[in-house]
């Protein structure tokens, strides 16, 4: 039929144009970066089986991890507030309660032994002109690989993957550098609920909090060279492939970036992404539930219209 032939031509040129300006153009615009499935194969695998009890001693030992890091799950509070931490180190040292659930084992082990290698920051911190705030673990006298394996085993023993909500995963992995204003999260934590003073008409507590955030950000900028972007809707601004390859190996997408490798495991990454979806694409659920109804409505509409047209055109042909 003639109309079908015309339709085929219209569809052909529409699809050709679509193919050209979307899949084809984007394949030419963005270099292809292979996703390695969070394997971290450039780091050595753990060969020893660790003992959590021994690991605990090492982690809690004088001058060890807890000198700088909090471990809330084990009742170890932060030794300093975020502002003091940022002015000392550039950024708050992460809480270690959930690192066993969030990070890859290889990465975690290397992070203890050789942090700048694990985080791929060797080019920025050569150890002489600039020293990375976290010192490498030099061993406690025994077999260093065994000791590292013990510490990793300890972190895995205290981590609770079931309690790791997407929000906590985000806070532990990203939030010390990246704010998420749609999620009400700043680099020093969630924006507190404060009240405007009825007489002064000023929310003094909020202003104080904002000053703290600003001071923290100033230290962070000094440390990283720039303020890392807010991640509220990053999920819409970057492709899925960009997100995972960038997290897995930041240099592969942005050579020279201030972003370190953070060493998320597959599970940890999925949790972080599901939080970014919550803040960046909250309508997903509504879209999926409403879509079939609307399409169904127009399908019936079209059928009724077809019948109606047929009945009218009966007299015309």
């Amino acid at each position: 039929m003639k109309e079908l032939k015309i339709l085929a031509i219209v569809v052909f040129f529409t699809l050709l144009t679509y193919w050209g300006v979307e899949p084809f153009a984007h394949s030419k615009m963005h270099k292809h970066v292979e996703f390695k499935n969070f394997a971290y194969s450039d780091l050595p695998a753990l060969t020893k089986t660790g003992d959590p009890a021994k690991g605990q001693e090492l982690v809690m030992g004088a001058g060890a991890c807890v000198g700088c890091h909090s471990i809330k799950a084990a009742g170890v509070p932060s030794p300093m507030d975020p502002n003091m931490a940022a002015s000392s180190y550039g950024v708050t040292p992460p809480d270690l309660s959930q690192v066993g659930a969030l990070l890859d084992d290889r990465f975690l082990a290397e992070m203890i032994k050789n942090p700048t290698k694990a985080m791929m920051l060797k080019h920025k911190f050569d150890g002489t002109t600039r020293v990375f705030p976290m010192p490498a673990f030099m061993g406690a006298g025994g077999d260093i690989d065994q000791e590292v394996a013990d510490m990793v085993a300890y972190f895995k023993s205290i981590a609770k993957p079931d309690e790791l909500t997407p929000k906590v995963a985000y806070e532990d992995s990203c939030a010390r550098c990246h704010a998420n204003r749609y999620g009400n999260i700043t680099q020093i934590g969630e924006v507190p609920k404060t009240k405007t003073n009825i007489v002064t008409n000023k929310d003094v507590d909020l202003l104080k909090f904002k000053i703290k955030v600003a001071n923290y950000q100033a230290d962070l900028v000094h440390y990283l060279g720039k303020l890392p972007p807010d991640l509220s809707i990053m999920i819409r601004a970057r492709s899925e492939n960009f997100m995972k390859t960038f997290v897995e190996d930041p240099e592969s997408q942005l050579p020279g970036t201030a972003m370190p490798r953070v060493g998320l495991s597959k599970e940890g990454y999925d949790k972080v992404i599901s939080y970014l979806e919550e803040t960046g694409d909250p309508s997903k659920k509504d879209r999926e539930s409403l879509g079939p109804w609307v399409l169904g409505f127009f399908a019936i509409f079209t059928i009724l219209a077809l019948l109606w047209k047929k009945s009218i055109w009966k007299d015309l042909h």
Binding site: I198, F301, A305, W308, S311
Partner: protein, 169 residues
């Protein structure tokens, strides 16, 4: 011919009716778009500490953008079932908007009276109307007593009782 025409009309009407259904659904969506935002609804709570209140001094707080009057009664002020008892003290808690047309009345401590400048309405220290035009007493917002604090926006036992007794709308 007549039968054919009937069928055509029926189909046209079916299409029209079906389209109208879709239109009504779209109106429903449009109505939702006009609703207050979740952030507005979430701001519906305000906690007020009563421990610092002084007798016969009016405190003003804010709840949902409206002024909330809190008046700790001095012993010489007369008792009223509308008042809220926290510990040993009696309080007036009400929305500080005249029930006539929504202006904010001022408190005159010596007279123990609220006077509205807009249209001359007057209320006593328990929010009851002394002089019209206000048709009803000052409105008591939903509240809940938690020790020395009162949460405005949440309906506690005391509020439910006041409401059940018809002492506020």
């Amino acid at each position: 011919m007549a039968i054919k025409k009937e069928r055509r009309d029926f189909l046209g009407m079916a299409l029209g009716g079906f389209t109208a259904l879709g239109g009504i659904a779209a109106l429903g969506a449009a109505k939702r778009t006009w609703d207050p935002l979740p952030s507005v609804m979430a701001a519906g709570y305000s906690t007020i500490d009563l421990s610092a209140a002084k007798p016969n001094v009016l405190n003003v707080e804010k709840w949902r953008g409206k002024p909330i009057f809190i008046l700790k009664k001095s012993p010489d002020m007369k008792k009223d079932p509308r008042e809220v008892i926290v510990g040993d003290n009696r309080y007036l808690i009400c929305i500080g908007l005249c029930t006539h047309l929504g202006c904010i009345p001022s408190y005159f401590p010596k007279e123990h009276k609220f006077k509205c400048a807009c249209h001359g309405g007057q209320f006593d220290a328990s929010g009851r109307v002394l002089k019209s035009p206000p048709p009803i007493p000052l409105v008591i917002p939903p509240f809940k007593i938690e020790g020395e604090k009162v949460v405005i926006g949440e309906a506690g036992e005391e509020y439910k009782k006041l409401k059940a007794d018809g002492l506020t709308v």
